[in-house]
Symmetry: C2
Subunit: 196 residues, 2 copies
């Protein structure tokens, strides 16, 4: 029997191979065979970790969450709208890492729309993200950066919508949406909010 | 040999089955077997129409385009921003038909991110859509509904981004985003543009 350390190292190898498959081919290309090929291992070895496609997808979702949770974030330069700006710039594909993460999450939408459990996970993921943006909007209202009569939840939904829609356009057409253009678009969006 | 009319009727049956599979399972669930099951036909019959998965996906893309092109659109109540508002409301999932169409196109993103030809098709689709929104933005500037110093292309990209991002949130969480809420969000977004 392999030592416990070996076992954990192998699990880490598997998780990293799952991430590389996700980043290259999305959830749509995630199969035991693709992960096995990525590791130079047999499909048989992989079935030891993932007895079903569902088990593989669940693990991939954990891996994607961990990548998202652990990524380096920008430092907010101020409270309210400046912090909201940084939070949106944290999401859009300004770097190769952010591009890979977005490619994975956009691919997850197809998987999640066809599966009740994954769909519920995606609803929660949106709630969590909107919940992270909300304090910046509340601060912006308190600080007078936003009119006091706006519905903060509407602003949060709109900011999330704008950001994910920009993600998709930029993923497909990086030549048209280099980082500077994305940043300008986010800046203009933030500035339009103050007149909402 | 079947009469020509039979042949065309059968092709239409195939196209309709492809659409039903797309609407229910997205591009990720599109297989010869799924289409055959949907038609109550054999996979063998389907290979007559689609010698490869690629041929099936290409046909599905045509079917999805035709559905989008043929859908009933809202009548614009005015030029410029009112027309832009109607164009965005045409896209978001306010009806079961629009929900099905959006579910199909969101699922297409995964397929298109993993395939150069499909990715190029999606870039063109975005260009076409932004090209349809652009005259409304130009009108809005001419009519003084938007400041004359805005970059019309940035407004178009932002409107497309907001709309697709709202589509995704509404698809996953229809209880939180009933038609009235989506309409309010679009109205507020349009009104924020005039202060861009």
């Amino acid at each position: 029997m392999p030592a416990r350390g070996d076992h954990e190292a192998r699990r880490r190898d598997v998780s990293e191979a799952v991430w590389r498959v996700l980043a290259a081919q999305g959830f749509g290309g995630l199969t035991l065979r693709a992960v096995a090929t990525e590791m130079g291992a047999s499909t048989g070895l992989l079935t030891h970790y993932f007895p079903s496609k569902q088990a593989l997808v669940r693990h991939a979702l954990e891996v994607a969450h961990a990548h998202t949770a652990n990524r380096v974030r920008r430092k907010a330069s101020g409270k309210g709208l400046p912090a909201l700006r940084e939070a949106l710039l944290d999401v859009v594909p300004l770097t190769p890492e952010a591009t890979a993460a977005n490619r994975v999450w956009v691919s997850f939408w197809d998987a999640a729309l066809g599966d009740e459990e994954l769909g519920a996970a995606e609803i929660k993921r949106y709630e969590r993200w909107r919940g992270m943006l909300r304090p910046h909007v509340d601060d912006a209202i308190k600080l007078g950066q936003l009119p006091s009569d706006v519905d903060p939840d509407d602003i949060v939904v709109t900011a999330a919508a704008f950001t994910h829609g920009l993600v998709v356009q930029a993923l497909f057409d990086p030549a048209r949406f280099p980082p500077a253009r994305q940043t300008t678009l986010v800046d203009n969006f933030i500035s339009s909010l103050s007149h909402h």
